[in-house]
Amino acid sequence: MIEFEVLGKKDTRSGFGEGLSELGKKNNQVVALCADLTGSLKMDAFQKENPERFFQVGIAEANMIGLAAGMAVGGKIPYTGTFANFSTGRVYDQIRQSVAYSNKNVKICASHAGLTLGEDGATHQILEDIGMMKMLPNMTVIVPADFNQTKQATIAIAEHVGPVYLRFGRPSVPIFVKEDAKFVIGKADKLINGTDVTIVACGHLVWKAIEAAKELEAQGISAEVINMHTIKPFDENAVLDSVAKTRCVVTAEEHMLNGGLGDSVAQLLSRNNPLPQEYIGVNDKFGESGTPDELMKKYGLESENIVEAAKKVIQRKS
């Protein structure tokens, strides 16, 4: 019987805010920049506690990325904060040249990623950011699953020298990562052991994968669940070891299929151990206005979709 203790319910952006505040107290090299979204990013605590290390940039994201790269010269560890859309698509060239190619120690922290931003609609619901960021050499890409993990990741990335993209979101989601867990970049968390199918998920889809595994268990199917919180560097062994046992995989993400977590898994399998794969994600469509729950349902990102995909992929096993 799969048992998962729920430790509460919070938004992952608040995990970022708490992590940044805690980090600010113990590492005085950390500086933060924000483009007029301090409250939305939950950066107010850091701002209040470290006014001399907080830089309000205004609505000028390109300048924010360039400033952050410049601040890294001289030893500071800049954390930039804005919505995921404005953290990536709007400033791709600035990130490419000043941060990734120049290999600067900048942490690009992106909230309100994906459909769960909700009512604001497709202009703000970026579903391409993981792809854009993982394509950049030197860039580390992290998509934590809940409040605790986002907080832990926020603190952990300060110890990693180099560019990082940290993606989180707006809605309240169940907390299941232990408060004292250690976040290791590039080391996936195996949450549930199983033998019939592997489910690899990231971000908000990890909890839905856990729920799917419970439902599959009730139907007599044993699912293994992996929280792939780091998209790059990719924990290849975690996936290869699991599929060696289960012989099939479902990937689940709040992102476009093109360029996402599923793509990373498919590339790994095609090179090492070609096996059936089913994808949960958004397939070449923009989002739209609606509540987060309505959108996740309409776009097929619910636990029942994962259950269906798991059954389908098991059928495809030879």
């Binding site: 205004g58 390109a62 790269a69 120049s102």
Partner: protein
């Protein structure tokens, strides 16, 4: 350093530029020649720096960013001539596996370069960021940057300008290579910059003007700007230059922005530029 001595170095830098560009039949000689005097004065007379102890961090020394990265030949020559790397390495410019990439980069670890540039409009943000880090570190050094006039058409420059004044980043000295020309023609015809001085003043910057081919003007203006660090205002110098300066057939036109001279043209150019420090 004496003006005459600076002029001799600049002459050698100009020889390096045309030889580097001709050597690979590509690159940007026009703007490079136009900024040879400025970068010579900056590196040999104005900046506090130590080429024997280059560090990416640049703590305790002045830092320079080349925002208009396409004029890399002039920067590479000045860096080599001031001791950052062997002068002979100039011969590898734009060649496979060279540290001297077409546009400046950090990934091959060329001493002297702290930021990639080439995609325009980013260097002012970089410079202001480093200037703020220097303030946080209690480092009294200055951050210099160079920008093309055509580059000012990029919106990010004005985002950075607004920010620099709002945050009182007074330890940054930006210079504009005001040669009035860009790839498609005269800046005035492509997209007019209007009254550039008034624009910077309106953005809250302290504006200076200097003659980019007069060593005394360069020295005095840079000294004046340096002297005002601490007055809460970022500084910009509008530097009047001639694209292609020093090579008669490259002057008075935008055509040599990104074109290399052929062997005959190279010979003609070298005939106009005294070899003072020995060619690489």
């Amino acid at each position: 350093m004496e003006n005459q001595q600076l002029e001799k170095i600049a002459s050698q830098v100009r020889r390096d530029i045309v030889r580097m560009v001709a050597g690979v039949n590509s690159g940007h000689p026009g703007g490079s020649l136009g900024c040879a005097d400025f970068l010579t004065v900056l590196y040999f007379d104005v900046m506090n720096h130590d080429s024997s102890k280059f560090s990416m961090e640049g703590k305790g020394e002045d830092v320079f960013y080349l925002s208009n990265g396409h004029i890399s030949p002039v920067w590479y020559s000045v860096l080599a001539r001031s001791g950052y790397f062997p002068v002979n390495e100039l011969g590898t410019f734009r060649k496979l596996s060279s540290r001297l990439q077409g546009h400046p980069s950090t990934d091959k670890k060329l001493p002297g370069v702290r930021m990639a540039s080439g995609s325009l409009g980013q260097g002012l943000s970089n410079a202001i960021g480093t200037a703020q880090t220097k303030k946080l570190n209690g480092d009294k050094s200055i951050v210099y940057s160079l920008h093309g006039d055509g580059e000012l058409q990029e919106g990010q420059i004005w985002e950075a300008a607004m920010y620099g004044a709002a945050h009182k980043v007074d330890n940054v000295i930006a210079t504009i290579d005001y040669n009035g020309r860009q790839i498609d023609g005269d800046v005035e015809d492509v997209i007019s910059l209007g009254d550039l001085s008034l624009k910077w003043q309106a953005f809250g910057w302290e504006v200076y003007n200097m003659d980019g081919h007069n060593m005394q003007s360069l020295k005095e203006t840079l000294a004046a700007a340096k002297g005002n660090v601490g007055n809460d205002k970022p500084k910009v110098i509008i530097m009047k230059t001639e694209m292609g300066q020093g090579v008669d057939f490259m002057m008075g036109t935008h055509k040599w922005h990104g074109v290399a001279p052929n062997p005959d043209q190279l010979a003609s150019a070298l005939g106009q530029l005294e070899e003072t420090l020995g060619d690489y």
